[in-house]
C-alpha cells in the first residue's frame, strides 16, 4: 500500500480543492434554486481525489481511449462532478452558474451528450456500475490498462440492478473496476436503516466476490491509499466503502435529510459560504 502520509502538501492541496469545490456546489445550487446539496457534499472528497490526483485523464482530449474513467452513478451529485470538471478544464467555470437552466450544457443530472467529460447519462439510479462493467470489459478486450471508477450511493444500492452488476463484475474478475460507495446513511425518505437496511453492506459485497476496503470517505489520505490498493488488487473488483456525512462541510446540512434535494435559501447560502470560507482559511494557514 502506497503511503501518502509523508505527502502533506498533496493532502493539503486536495483538501483545499475539496473545500473550493464545496463552495462552488453551494454557489451553483443557490443560483439554480434547486438541486441536491447533501449527496454532492458527501461525495466531494472522493471525486476531488480521483480527478486532481489519482486518475489519468486529459481535459483537452476527453475521448482519449486510454483515459481512466469516472462514472457518477448517483447522478444527483452532478454539481460536485461539474465543479471538478470545470476546475480541471473540461469547460469554462462560467458555465457552472447556468446549471439547470434552459440551454445549459449542465443538466440537472449528468448528460454525456451535453457535457464534456461526462461518460454516460445517469440520474435514474442503479445503472452506472453495469455501465462501468462494459467499460472494464472493453478495457480487457482491447488490452488497455485504464481503470474504471464508479461512484454509487447507499440508497442507490437498494436497486436490484446494482446486485446484477455486483455478481457480473466478480464473475468477469474485473480487477480494473473499482466501485466507491458513498455511505452517508440517508436517502430522501429518511435513514437507510429505517427504509431497507443496508448495514451488512460489507458482508454483502464480500459475498458477491468483491475485494472490500472500508475508509473514512472524507479523509483524503485514506481515499488515495484505498484507490491505490484497489488498482493493485488482482483478480477481483474492489468496493471502497466510504463512510461519509451527508451535507459534509456545512454544519446545518450535515446529516440533515431535508437537504437531500433542496437548495439553500439566501440566508442559508450566506451561512454556508461563511463556514466554508472559514474552513478554507484554516486549511491555508495550516
Amino acid at each position: 500500500m502506497q503511503n501518502h502520509a509523508h505527502d502533506k502538501e498533496l493532502i493539503k492541496k486536495l483538501n483545499l480543492k475539496a473545500v473550493r469545490v464545496r463552495k462552488q456546489i453551494i454557489e451553483m445550487l443557490y443560483h439554480a434554486k434547486s438541486g441536491h446539496p447533501g449527496g454532492s457534499l458527501s461525495a466531494t472528497d472522493a471525486i476531488v481525489a480521483l480527478y486532481f490526483h489519482h486518475m489519468r485523464h486529459n481535459p483537452k482530449n476527453p475521448g482519449d481511449p486510454d483515459r481512466d474513467r469516472f462514472i457518477l452513478s448517483k447522478g444527483h451529485a452532478a454539481p460536485a462532478l461539474y465543479a471538478v470538471l470545470a476546475e480541471s478544464g473540461y469547460f469554462s467555470k462560467k458555465e457552472l452558474l447556468t446549471l439547470r437552466q434552459v440551454g445549459s450544457i449542465l443538466q440537472g443530472h449528468p448528460a454525456n451528450t451535453r457535457t464534456p467529460g461526462v461518460e454516460v447519462s445517469t440520474g435514474s439510479l442503479g445503472q452506472g456500475l453495469s455501465f462501468g462493467i462494459g467499460v472494464a470489459l472493453a478495457g480487457k478486450l482491447d488490452k488497455k490498462n485504464y481503470n474504471v471508477y464508479v461512484l454509487i450511493g447507499d440508497g442507490e444500492s437498494e436497486e436490484g440492478q446494482v446486485w446484477e452488476a455486483a455478481a457480473s463484475a466478480s464473475h468477469h474478475k474485473l480487477d480494473n473496476l473499482t466501485a466507491l460507495l458513498d455511505r452517508n446513511m440517508l436517502q430522501i425518505d429518511g435513514c437507510t436503516e429505517d427504509i431497507v437496511g443496508l448495514e451488512s453492506t460489507k458482508e454483502r459485497w464480500a459475498a458477491f466476490g468483491w475485494n472490500i476496503i472500508e475508509i473514512d470517505g472524507h479523509d483524503i489520505k485514506q481515499i488515495l491509499d484505498a484507490l491505490h490498493e484497489a488498482d493493485s488488487y488482482k483478480g477481483k473488483p474492489t468496493m471502497i466503502i466510504m463512510r461519509t456525512v451527508k451535507g459534509r462541510g456545512v454544519s446545518f446540512m450535515e446529516n440533515n435529510v431535508d437537504f437531500h434535494g433542496v437548495a439553500p435559501n439566501e440566508e442559508e447560502y450566506k451561512q454556508a459560504m461563511k463556514e466554508l470560507d472559514e474552513t478554507e482559511k484554516k486549511l491555508m494557514e495550516d
Binding site: P65, L137, D142, A165, S168
Partner: protein
C-alpha cells in the same frame, strides 16, 4: 423455396460481420441458443458475453462497451428487451446515444404455446416513442440479414424484432443490397387499396394481394420494415393514389405502424378510408401459432376481408 428461421440468419450474419469488424461484440441473457447468438459466441468467444438472466445489467453493460468504440449487439426475447428494461434503454442507451443494437426474438402471438407472458405485442410502441431510437421489423430471412448489416454499419441506438417462427423468403438476396434505413419497399403496385405491413404479416399481405387480384381488386403492398424512421413519403404517395389503407402487424393496434400511418394521414389531411389490423388491446394466450393468428384475425383471409370492406 423453403422456410428459413430469421434467428439463424441473425446468428450467421453476426458471425460474418464479426469476421470483418473486430469491434463487434455480442451480449445475450441466457437465451443464446434461442436467439442464435451462440453462433457468434462459438466463433468469437472473447467477444461474446452471456450475461445470464439479468437483462437490466446486460443493456447497461452493452452501453459501456459501446462507449469504448464497440458495436454492441444485445439479444434476448422481446418480452425482456425492451419489456423488462425500458429505463436502462432510455438512460444508458438512448439518452446517452450509445451504439447499442438490440435484436430481439420471439415477438408476437406466433410465439405460440408459451402464452401471453412470452408474446410481446407492445415492443414497437415502446421503442417508437423513444428519442434517438431506430426500429426495424424484417419480413423475411434475407431481409433479416440485411437489417443486421445496416444496424452494424450505421451509428446509434437501434431495435429490431423477429418472431420465433421460420419464414418463407420474399426477397432474393441480391434484391436487398440497396436497402436504406427510412425507405420502405413497395412489393406490389396497385390502384385500389394499400396494404402496409411489417414482419411476418408482409407475406400474408402478399397472399391477400393475389386473392384480391383474382376478384378484380388491385392492392398495393408496402413492406414497412423501417418503422422508425418511418417512410412517410411512400405512405403519402400510396394513400393519395389508392384512397384506401389497411395496416397489418403482429403487434398491438396501439402504437405500431397503424398508429404511425394514422398520425401521418390525419396531420397531412389526406382523406382515406382506413383500417388498422393488429392485436386489439389485449394479451395473447397459449396455442398453436397458426390457430392464434386466426384467433387474432391476422391471416391473409382477414386482410382480404378488411380490404373489401373499404371498397
Amino acid at each position: 423455396m423453403e422456410k428459413i428461421n430469421p434467428r439463424d440468419m441473425y446468428g450467421e450474419t453476426l458471425v460474418k460481420l464479426g469476421e470483418k469488424n473486430p469491434n463487434i461484440v455480442v451480449l445475450d441473457a441466457d437465451l443464446a441458443k434461442s436467439t442464435k447468438t451462440y453462433k457468434f459466441g462459438k466463433r468469437f468467444p472473447e467477444r461474446f458475453f452471456d450475461m445470464g438472466i439479468a437483462e437490466a445489467n446486460m443493456i447497461s453493460v452493452a452501453a459501456g462497451l459501446a462507449s469504448c468504440g464497440k458495436t454492441a449487439f444485445a439479444s434476448t426475447f422481446a418480452v425482456f428487451v425492451p419489456g423488462k428494461v425500458y429505463d436502462q434503454i432510455r438512460m444508458s442507451v438512448a439518452y446517452s446515444n450509445m451504439n447499442v443494437k438490440m435484436f430481439s426474438t420471439h415477438a408476437g402471438v406466433s410465439v405460440g404455446k408459451d402464452g401471453a407472458s412470452h408474446q410481446m405485442l407492445e415492443d414497437i410502441a415502446l421503442m417508437r416513442v423513444m428519442p434517438n431510437m431506430k426500429v426495424f421489423a424484417p419480413s423475411d430471412p434475407f431481409q433479416t440479414g440485411r437489417i443486421v448489416e445496416l444496424m452494424a454499419e450505421n451509428y446509434g441506438p437501434m431495435y429490431a424484432r423477429v418472431g420465433r417462427e421460420a419464414m418463407y423468403p420474399i426477397y432474393q438476396k441480391n434484391e436487398l443490397e440497396d436497402m436504406t434505413i427510412g425507405r420502405s419497399i413497395t412489393l406490389k403496385e396497385g390502384e385500389d387499396a394499400t396494404i402496409i405491413a411489417h414482419g411476418m404479416m408482409v407475406r400474408e399481405a402478399l397472399i391477400a394481394h393475389d386473392t384480391l387480384k383474382k376478384q378484380g381488386v388491385n392492392a398495393e403492398v408496402i413492406d414497412m420494415w423501417t418503422i422508425k424512421p418511418f417512410d412517410a413519403e411512400a405512405v403519402l404517395k400510396s394513400a393519395k393514389k389508392t384512397g384506401r389503407i389497411v395496416t397489418v402487424e403482429e403487434h398491438s393496434i396501439i402504437g405500431g405502424i397503424g398508429s404511425a400511418v394514422a398520425e401521418l394521414l390525419s396531420e397531412k389531411k389526406v382523406n382515406v378510408t382506413f383500417k388498422r389490423m393488429g392485436v386489439n388491446d389485449t394479451f395473447g394466450e397459449s396455442g398453436d401459432p397458426s390457430d392464434l393468428l386466426k384467433k387474432y384475425c391476422l391471416t391473409s383471409e382477414d386482410i382480404v376481408e378488411n380490404v373489401k370492406k373499404l371498397m
